[in-house]
Symmetry: C2
């Protein structure tokens, strides 16, 4: 019969942990003095204690250990744990690779995040622009046309509006673009305006601040980032307009998000 302190020294589990394990029903002292509440353990229980300690060192949770100790199939639990550990390992690898690229890169101008974009209904319109700045006429025009077709149709709040560049390559002229904007439901279509539902999408996202002249850098950055860190592009990048000439006077305050679908 060992008092808790003695058992603690033999098992190399702290007294706190032993009391905690009792509370969780994992390792119950052989007897408990009815009057004083003193816990008494048997040397025999050192084996269970060792098991518990070994399993904790493998990072099994108390509940998992309890399951194993009460006869559950240990193989299954270990196999599950191995899978979980493996995916933890992969996550860590991704983080390490990102940190490494941050440390190497002198300019940490862009921060990349992974996001999940919920599904949405959008109206969209495609066209070919002679030059980029023509988008500034085209986009409001789409909005007007859509409102004309569907006077009661409302955009989402907050708005979600983006352009995709349909040419595979960079062009200075004759640029094919598709403009989309999220709305509450589908509506009447026209030659120009169509509706579709975009599915839930995982994206890499960065924000670009300032004028559009340097936005090419942002594209280059996110593409390189995806390649360096093992993300596979799964669609056209979306250029989302958050702040621009329509609400901010100073060009420095313009804000654009670039979302690159992945997986």
């Amino acid at each position: 019969m060992l008092k808790i302190g003695e058992f603690s020294k033999l098992s190399h589990l702290t007294v706190k942990a032993l009391r905690f394990y009792e509370k969780k029903g994992l390792l119950i002292p052989e007897t408990v003095d009815e009057w004083t509440g003193y816990r008494f353990y048997e040397t025999r229980q050192l084996e269970d204690a060792a098991k518990i300690k070994a399993y904790r060192q493998l990072d099994l949770s108390i509940d998992e250990i309890k399951a194993i100790m009460s006869g559950a199939d240990a193989k299954v639990i270990f196999a599950e744990k191995a899978v979980a550990l493996q995916s933890q390992r992969e996550e860590i690898d991704v983080r390490l690779s990102i940190i490494k690229s941050i440390l190497e890169d002198v300019n940490m101008k862009y921060q990349v995040t992974v996001k999940e974009i919920p599904s949405a209904i959008v109206y969209y319109a495609e066209t070919t622009l002679e030059k980029y700045s023509d988008a500034m006429q085209f986009i409001p025009m789409c909005g007007e046309e859509c409102r004309k077709l569907n006077p009661d149709l409302k955009c989402t709040n907050p708005p979600y509006e983006f352009c995709e560049y349909l040419d595979g390559e960079y062009r200075e002229t004759n640029i094919r673009i598709r403009h989309s904007e999220a709305v509450e439901k589908t509506g009447r279509e026209s030659e120009l305006i169509k509706f579709r539902e975009i599915p839930v999408t995982k994206v890499l996202s960065i924000f670009h601040k300032g004028a559009y002249e340097q936005i090419g850098e942002a594209y280059a950055f996110i593409m390189k980032y995806a390649e360096d860190n093992g993300y596979k592009p799964a669609g056209l990048a979306r250029e989302c307009y958050i702040d621009g000439i329509w609400n901010k006077e100073s060009v420095d305050e313009w804000l654009t998000e670039i979302q690159l679908p992945i997986e």
Copy 2:
């Protein structure tokens, strides 16, 4: 001016997280309505939100992010984080290798744990045994001799008593052993009895239940385990007697721990 829900959708941070970040002083809404308490954010703050989200995805803590955002040297923090992640990775690798060996091994008879043995003062005595069972005379004899030399010297509670086999190899006869037992302080020595302090030691530990005939299996197991999982033995294994003929009648209840110093 965006309400918290709108900002949440744009930043892909939950409302809960945004309120939490405000509480922690990480991301303060641009204005807070004095009467209603409503938080209002600016689109400009999306950049900070993206940064925070990116850093959280790298598993930086709130405090680390706060340090970076308020101008601390990000390189240092990232470098530290990289080191931490690397060691996490190594831990996971060890666990995976152990789980793999458990899954492969049909007999999960032994559970190995890593322990830290605190330092202790021991008396010790060496001898050559003709056969193993002679230890049953030798060990109590050491105890008596020590008590004769040092009548007031007490053993630790709980006791810590072990044998080391000094021959590098397994022998059936002429076995050189050293027996040690932890005591409270040093004392008078004799030809047979010496004192020394054993330092803090990291060990692999397993428990062997039952008679000593099969204890060889346990040694084989722990040695293979050490090799398989990259632990380097750093000394002689200690055979610690917990339960035996002196306090348990049934052989099945005898309990011995084997501790293999590592690193």
